[in-house]
Symmetry: C2
Subunit: 322 residues, 2 copies
């Protein structure tokens, strides 16, 4: 009997060591694990039944890298360039001119609107299947400028472990991203274990048409929904219909999703990933054009949300690290 007990203790401490192995022991990991234990303890006061265990994750900067430019934007801008010969009217468009001149400074000064307008037009008229193929083709060959690797290698290993850990504990995991659903669907299931139907994102309008007797969905130039900032709780309401119990983000675009989640009744988890590791990844926050973390950081401090330091809380960032 004593022997059995020893074995059980051994197994359980081994299991503990295996939880979130790429996370250093410390406040962030301890609080995440404590939250999961509390909401899954059927006899505890914080118990949450499995159906309500909804966890939402921002993608860019939270589950994978986003510097020096959102990866989807790199793809989209290449699509704009490729479509340029069919659009002579773009030659006088300031956004197009800045883009062709690689005038990063000018591009940063602009609002996103004129760029998104070009992007929308560049991809309109094609079927959703053709667009999906274009994304897959690009992802198969494009390389990140700093890491010289496919973009899909740049998913954060500790977050992959966190997703798996939550699912093992009965959570349903969703992506809620400012990026478009189409761009995530081809690789998110393999990378994160999140199927297409659990990805919420921005949406370009599509229209149902019958072409050569075959029903197809054709992309239009307008955006139907922008899933960013205050759009994130709206996207969650539309697609999930419940207030999540846990939310994970990294920038001001996630602020309302974190607020909306944290304001629910009962125990909640709100976590922000802070990019403070210039050596292994990138270091940026309040002053950054991409993934700006300013208001959400203040709010995190004021409300005691978990702020993860990539530098000190994560043993490794990418799976390809030694």
């Amino acid at each position: 009997m004593r022997c059995l007990l020893s074995v059980l203790l051994l197994v359980s401490s081994a299991a503990w060591a295996q939880v979130l192995p790429s996370w250093n022991e410390g406040d962030a990991k301890t609080r995440v694990v404590a939250f999961v234990q509390a909401v899954t303890d059927e006899k505890g006061k914080d118990y949450v039944p499995p159906a309500a265990r909804i966890a939402v994750f921002d993608n860019d900067g939270t589950l994978w890298a986003e510097q020096p430019l959102y990866f989807q934007l790199v793809f989209m801008l290449e699509q704009v360039k490729a479509a340029a010969p069919k659009h002579p009217e773009w030659q006088d468009n300031p956004a197009f001119k800045a883009l062709m001149a690689h005038d990063q400074k000018e591009l940063m000064k602009m609002s996103h609107r004129p760029l998104l307008a070009l992007v929308g037009i560049a991809n309109s008229g094609t079927t959703v299947e053709a667009y999906d193929l274009a994304i897959r083709d690009w992802l198969a060959t494009a390389q990140h400028p700093k890491f010289k690797r496919p973009y899909t290698d740049l998913v954060f290993q500790p977050m992959q472990e966190l997703l798996a850990y939550l699912r093992e504990n009965g959570f349903k995991t969703f992506i809620v991203s400012g990026g478009s659903v189409e761009f995530m669907r081809p690789w998110a299931e393999k990378a994160y274990g999140i199927p297409a139907e659990q990805i919420i994102g921005s949406q370009q309008q599509v229209e149902y048409k019958v072409r050569n007797g075959k029903p197809v969905l054709v992309r239009e130039s307008k955006f139907a929904f922008v899933d960013d900032g205050p759009g994130k709780p709206v996207g969650i309401y539309r697609s999930i219909g419940r207030r999540p119990v846990a939310a994970f983000g990294n920038s001001d675009g996630d602020l309302q999703m974190l607020q909306f989640t944290a304001a629910g009744e009962g125990r909640r988890l709100a976590l922000i990933v802070h990019h403070d590791d210039a050596e292994r990844e990138f270091a940026y926050d309040r002053q950054s054009h991409i993934g700006k973390l300013d208001k959400a950081w203040d709010e995190a401090k004021a409300n005691n949300w978990i702020v993860v330091s990539m530098k000190s809380d994560w043993k490794r960032i990418f799976a390809f690290e030694k």
Copy 2:
């Protein structure tokens, strides 16, 4: 050994008898079962891996009754009446006048637009939680005029069995309804085993606001998305991101969803429920204002889709039948 074999055969024939028990033996049941066996047979040419086993169901008229008036419309029109004192400007509105006069004929002559406009205004300004409560309250007390029972009793028993049968065979089941998501979420999980996040429907605009320091979602008067007719494949694309392998409907509003599903590569199932049982439920098709089945019926015949006769294919329609 022979004994074991007999037992196995017995078990397997008992299991067969238990499949879709409220369905009469016949062409419809045989074809549904043959489809499920084909796509789940790992060695067969029609095999579909579990992740791609997406089945989509219309709600009104397919999973529950819809006559003499869509149940949600009954609720909404009561909401309009309740909001009338706050909207003196409605007194000159033809749709409102017809509604208050119970002028069914005049209402049927109108397009849905002026009625939906009233509905949108009647429910705007409240939080989504308050709206959810109003729906639950109404469902708890309202009774169907013919059956004198709560509307939620009017779910079709054979379709509940079909949903469960598909899920037992690895399918993920979704509702894709012209009705609004909010109206289905409070009861669909219990009635159909379909969670809130697998319900696609029409959407009124909601906006994120902070009221008294608490983040809430507030309903606006405009519709953000109408999930009917050609909107259904669009809703499927947005929320699921894959072409379903099986689709179930009952009216012309489901035509494009059925076409879109049937046109996919590999084996597909398209099924229409035909309301031809005036005694046990209602009988209506080509001439009906509610749940009109005309073009979709022709298409079903032309393409050999399954057409279920409620009268002859279903042993019983409702669970409360003797």
